[in-house]
């Protein structure tokens, strides 16, 4: 470095305790980039303990990733070079690796992982069960229309007969039980009530309720019980027509609560907690409903129609993708100030799938019609951490239910699985 380049005082700190360095300010040349800073930290660390490899670090200033040279960053943000900069550093996130590809016969519209299994819904009216290693376990001719949503009810990995639900264009929701020992899948209950295609499903944390959103603008809350006496009773009260149609012994269930309010189709639904449900709709709104009181609690107006949302219980934020190229970050708790907290722009087409990481409250993935899955850190709104290519056509859904695996399904009849590598020590 030149003698003449101005220096800035910087204090480094980290939340990853194994990489902590002394809390003394360093004078660093203002022109340094991420790599120089990284080697600086490495040098500091090596003084303490001997490591074989140097670790790559990322640096955050004011909760935002440093992606350019320090002086450029300071200029952009109008930060004075007189003060001591507080720079947080974290270990550079390792790149995800493509793990597997699950080939279907038709477009895969939805998927969810559970333990080492993957459930996918297809446009050929079937539900497929896969192991994450790529073996196809089962194909279930489940519906009479394209399957639009699948969700595992059972979260317990030990359960040998897990339950899952599926919603379809045929306006029904089926509750299925997968008997792993018998290698059978049985339809336990058929939930009827929606008058249009069921586009989204969500299970609450206690696995007792699930809600469904449909093209008919209704939000319905259902019980997840695989079998209940209520069903029969309710079944008898249901209309003759529906009875006629099903012609089977499969019991029919009706919703516990139906809530209307959206002016357009509900495209995505998520539980915020045991009582609150957040829905996203084509009418450009996010609405939060109190299930117990069957009320609409609040409403967030968005600029475009929403296609998918994801809620992170750990940071309480909602990310939403819609009919434009921006992913928007909402805070459902705040009522004042800017509605959109942050916008993440990198995709080129509609964003049809978003999913928070369940382990890292800063990371989420997004899938778009442009065929790319992007891994984002919410502190870096300008550019994603990684682009994951592989799909040859539109992506229709993404899933990050299994913390290690990021999955996406698309119109190229594939599910692509990428492995998410964790840090050695996960930040708190």
């Amino acid at each position: 470095m030149d003698e003449n380049t101005p220096h800035v005082q910087a204090k480094f700190y980290t939340k990853q305790s194994q990489y902590s360095v002394p809390d003394t300010p360093f004078s660093v040349p203002i022109t340094v980039g991420v790599e120089e800073l990284s080697s600086l930290i490495n040098g500091l660390l090596k003084g303490d303990e001997i490591e074989d490899e140097s670790v790559k670090f990322d640096f955050l200033i004011n909760e935002e990733f440093l992606r350019v040279a320090l002086n450029e960053y300071l200029e952009q943000r109008n930060i004075s070079t007189e003060n001591v900069l507080e720079i947080e550093y974290i270990e550079h996130h390792p790149a995800p690796k493509p793990d597997n590809s699950l080939l279907h016969d038709d477009w895969v519209s939805c998927l969810q992982g559970y333990s080492q299994y993957v459930l996918s819904g297809c446009y050929d009216n079937t539900i497929r069960l896969w192991k994450t290693d790529g073996t196809e376990l089962m194909t279930i001719p489940a519906h009479t229309g394209p399957v639009k949503a699948v969700k595992w009810i059972t979260q317990d990995e030990e359960d040998t007969s897990p339950l899952f639900i599926s919603g379809s264009h045929d306006q029904t929701i089926h509750i299925w039980q997968w008997n792993q020992e018998k290698k059978e899948v049985d339809c336990m209950v058929t939930c009827r009530g929606h008058t249009e295609s069921v586009d989204c499903l969500a299970i609450n944390n206690e696995n007792q309720r699930f809600c469904s959103g449909s093209w008919d603008k209704m939000l319905k809350i259902w019980s997840t019980a695989s079998a209940s006496e209520q069903d029969e009773q309710e079944d008898s009260t249901s209309t003759q027509k529906k009875r006629k149609k099903t012609d089977q012994i499969i019991p029919t269930r009706v919703p516990i609560v139906t809530m209307s309010g959206h002016k357009e189709a509900i495209s995505s639904v998520k539980w915020l907690n045991l009582t609150d449900v957040c829905t996203a709709s084509w009418d450009n709104t996010l609405r939060i409903w109190d299930v117990n009181r069957a009320l609409e609690k609040s409403q967030l107006q968005g600029p475009k129609a929403f296609f998918d949302i994801s809620y992170s219980p750990s940071n309480g934020m909602v990310i939403a993708g819609g009919s434009d190229r921006h992913i928007r970050l909402y805070d459902p708790r705040s009522t004042d100030g800017a509605v959109v907290k942050c916008a993440f722009t990198s995709h080129k087409l509609w964003i049809v799938g978003v999913a928070w990481s369940s382990t890292n409250d800063n990371h989420f993935i997004s899938g778009s019609h442009d065929g790319i899955v992007k891994l984002w850190d919410r502190r870096s709104p300008k550019a994603p951490l990684y682009d994951m290519t592989g799909h040859e056509d539109k992506i229709l859904a993404v899933d990050w239910s299994i913390p290690d695996l990021m999955m996406s399904s698309g119109a190229d009849n594939n599910i692509k699985i990428y492995s998410y590598s964790h840090h050695k020590n996960i930040s708190s």
Partner: protein
């Protein structure tokens, strides 16, 4: 100029040559004048010639020309009288004669010394006494007959009053001896005044001899050739270089006297001024107006004002020979300027010169002057009456497109699957599906959200029109295939509605029976699909007699109309689905019907023929309005959901907006497309309309209709959407808005449907 000057320089030289020749030849006073004449022209050139010795003499000579002549006469007389005049006289006369004939002057001068030496000895030096050419005053007796002194011993008195004694006269013998011995005796005469003997010079003798022979005494050639110095041609130089005489500067005293005399005479009334005639009276009689009608009235004269020619811009710093640095163009600009000059524009490239001397001549001076003259001469000038209005005020204040969000901006989805030209699309009333009709003989149903083709219906021929029933509680598509309409239940969406629709369609068969036995020939035949085709979703087939080009639903979803451009009087048919009835609303052909539309609220039918749109009131069965489209060939039409505004697209790439409350002529015409318009459409909810054209673009416009009757619709073009590729000379054939979202679907000849949001 230079050549002219050169000529001038040359010509005097030639003249000089001639003059010199003349000089040598003629030896005349005019000759000297002529010399002056030539030298006058360019003094610097002829300084050498002027220095000739005789020129000085000339000046004096000319001044007193007349006086000299007088003197000559007098002296000649004297010469004759006083034969014994002394030498000075002779010399005087010789001098006088020499003034007239200079070249001979020298001869005389040489002759004189001989004479002096030989003859006149007693005379003292002539300069001792007065040598002026005044009269000889040695004898002061005056001009008297000298016979008076014959008897005296003296012959007069000198100035001091002493007697001038007669010279001694020899006797006869001396006379005789002298006569014998002196060879010059014959030319010796005695001066009567002084009584002295004077020897006549040869010249004098010659004069005498000439006079005796009645010749010119001087002996010069009187008939020398005439040179006409004073020609009738106008010369540019004065004849003489002689300075003006002193007299010409001094006011003439005689003239003054004369004038004062006349003034005095006038004062005294002795002289009368000549009466001045009055010119006016005579003019009136002489001149008259040839063309009386020429007299302009005052008003027209006011209009016919003098129009000054446009002023040339004054040169500024850039035109200076030494412009400031900031006016000097860069290399790039010079290139550009040169190009512009080459293209014939007038541009000056500022150039810097250290001094004005280094500035070259302006190359285009003549051309520029010429062009300026042409401009002034050929340019018709007229006075423009200009309103003093800020041009910005005249532009209507349109809001920025950014403020008119939402509208479709970007292509987000491409629906691929068709293998031919997609002629028509129609979204379902809920916006989940869209139906498309294609030249590959299929009708496809697509899921809007994903671009997934859900269903495909194969039909017999190319699909010309698809229309989704606007009633959300019915699941019906009408498809126009060649000469028949096919009613399809697509079985997508709400199953209950689908089954209800089927039920409805089937249940009305009984009702259909009663009107069957009518005498009128049926315009259409309704057929039912059976079995396998029924299972696929085909429900009814309505057979027409001619090819159907377009089909449209009434807003309620029961009636629908089909268009057959070649159907003549049956070109428009209105069908009722529930009663399975078709009727022909018009008994007479109206022309080539392009498309028909139902009014969204009221019972009106819009029928677009080639150039007009007629609006019929279906209840009263009468024509309610006729819109003049002002275009060559209407291709498509759309009615605003409010029902009071219509847009029309035409094959001559115009889009006309009609406000039915305003007039039957277009309220606004948009010419944004470069090729034929294929489709126009309104959005049902948002104030948007769009037009699709063969130039591969779809133009979305903001078209706000105000419920306030006083406010005219606001039309702002907001977006040009591109993406389709040309195929078979066709571009975008249909465009339809999503029923609820601000999205637009476009169907192209390239076999794709594109969704812009």
């Amino acid at each position: 100029m230079a050549t002219v000057a050169a000529k001038r320089k040359i010509s005097p030289v030639e003249e000089i040559d001639i003059n010199e020749g003349v000089n040598l030849f003629v030896d005349e006073p005019p000759d000297s004048e002529d010399d002056d004449d030539t030298t006058d022209s360019d003094s610097s050139e002829y300084s050498g010639l002027e220095d000739e010795p005789d020129t000085d003499d000339d000046d004096g000579d000319e001044d007193d020309e007349e006086d000299d002549d007088d003197d000559e006469d007098a002296e000649n007389d004297e010469d004759e009288e006083d034969e014994d005049e002394d030498e000075s006289d002779v010399e005087d006369s010789a001098e006088e004669t020499s003034s007239h004939s200079k070249p001979t002057n020298q001869e005389i001068v040489t002759a004189e010394p001989d004479d002096k030496e030989g003859k006149i000895t007693q005379l003292p030096d002539e300069y001792e006494y007065d040598s002026s050419d005044e009269e000889d005053i040695r004898n002061t007796v005056g001009n008297i007959p000298m016979e008076w002194y014959r008897d005296y011993s003296h012959l007069g008195y000198d100035v001091e009053g002493k007697k001038l004694l007669k010279p001694e006269k020899g006797d006869e013998l001396d006379e005789f001896l002298d006569k014998m011995e002196n060879p010059d005796y014959w030319r010796t005469v005695s001066n009567k005044l002084t009584g002295q003997k004077v020897l006549l010079s040869k010249e004098d003798v010659k004069i005498i001899q000439n006079m005796q022979k009645f010749k010119n005494p001087v002996g010069s050639d009187m008939y020398e050739p005439w040179i006409d110095f004073f020609t009738n041609e106008k010369m540019i130089h004065p004849v003489s270089n002689r300075p003006e005489t002193k007299a010409s500067f001094i006011p003439s005293r005689w003239e003054m006297l004369k004038v004062s005399q006349m003034v005095h005479a006038l004062k005294m009334g002795w002289m009368k001024p000549t009466p001045t005639r009055k010119p006016d009276e005579e003019d009136e009689t002489n001149f008259y107006m040839l063309w009386k009608d020429d007299e302009e009235p005052e008003i027209t004269r006011q209009y016919r004002q003098y129009i000054p020619p446009p002023k040339v811009r004054l040169p500024g710093h850039a035109e200076s020979y030494n412009p400031p640095e900031e006016y000097l163009p860069s290399e790039k600009t010079v290139q550009r300027l040169k190009k512009e000059i080459a293209r014939g524009k007038t541009r000056t490239i500022p150039q810097k010169f250290s001094s004005l001397r280094l500035v070259p001549g302006f190359k285009y001076f003549i051309r520029e002057r010429f062009e300026r003259c042409l401009d002034l001469y050929l340019c018709p000038r007229q006075r423009k009456v200009r309103m003093n209005v800020n041009p910005d005020d005249l532009i209507p204040k349109l809001p920025k497109p950014r403020d008119l969000q939402p509208f479709p901006t970007t292509e987000y989805l491409v629906f691929k699957g068709h293998k031919g030209i997609i002629r028509t699309i129609s979204p379902d009333p809920k916006g989940q599906w869209i139906a498309s009709g294609c030249d590959d003989k299929t009708v496809k149903i697509w899921e809007v959200a994903t671009g997934r083709c859900i269903k495909t219906f194969n039909v017999e021929s190319k699909v010309k029109g698809v229309a989704w029933n606007p009633n959300p509680s019915l699941s019906i598509i009408v498809v126009a295939v060649e000469t028949s309409l096919i009613i399809i239940n697509p079985h997508v969406g709400d199953k209950l509605i689908c089954s209800k629709t089927d039920l409805l369609l089937n249940s009305f068969e009984e009702v259909e029976l009663p009107p069957a036995p009518t005498d009128k020939p049926k315009v259409t035949e309704w057929e039912l699909y059976e079995d396998a085709e029924y299972e696929l979703g085909f429900r009814l087939k309505i057979k027409h007699q001619r090819e159907i080009s377009q089909v449209t639903w009434h807003g309620k979803g029961d009636y629908f109309a089909s268009t057959m451009p070649k159907g003549e009087s049956k070109s428009v048919l209105i069908h009722q689905l529930m009663k399975r009835r078709s009727q022909n609303p018009f008994s007479k052909p109206k022309g080539l019907v392009q498309c028909v539309l139902f009014h969204p609220i009221r019972p009106f039918l819009f029928v677009a023929t080639q150039k007009y749109v007629r609006i019929y009131n279906l209840m009263k069965q009468s024509l309610s309005k006729k819109l003049l489209s002002n275009c060559q060939w209407i291709s498509s039409m759309a009615v605003h959901p409010g029902g009071d505004n219509v847009i029309i697209g035409s094959y001559d790439s115009k889009l006309s907006w009609f406000d039915l409350d305003l007039s039957t002529k277009p309220y606004h015409t948009l010419r944004h497309h470069t090729m034929a318009l294929r489709s126009v459409t309104y959005h049902k909810r948002y104030p948007l309309f769009a037009s699709a054209s063969d130039d591969l673009s779809v133009i979305v416009c903001h078209g706000m209709v105000y419920s306030d009757l006083l406010q005219n619709p606001l039309i702002v073009p907001v977006k040009v959407l591109r993406g389709h590729k040309a195929a078979k000379g066709l571009g975008v054939l249909d465009c339809q808005f999503h029923p609820s979202q601000p999205w637009i679907f476009t169907a192209g000849a390239d076999g794709t449907i594109r969704l812009y949001t």
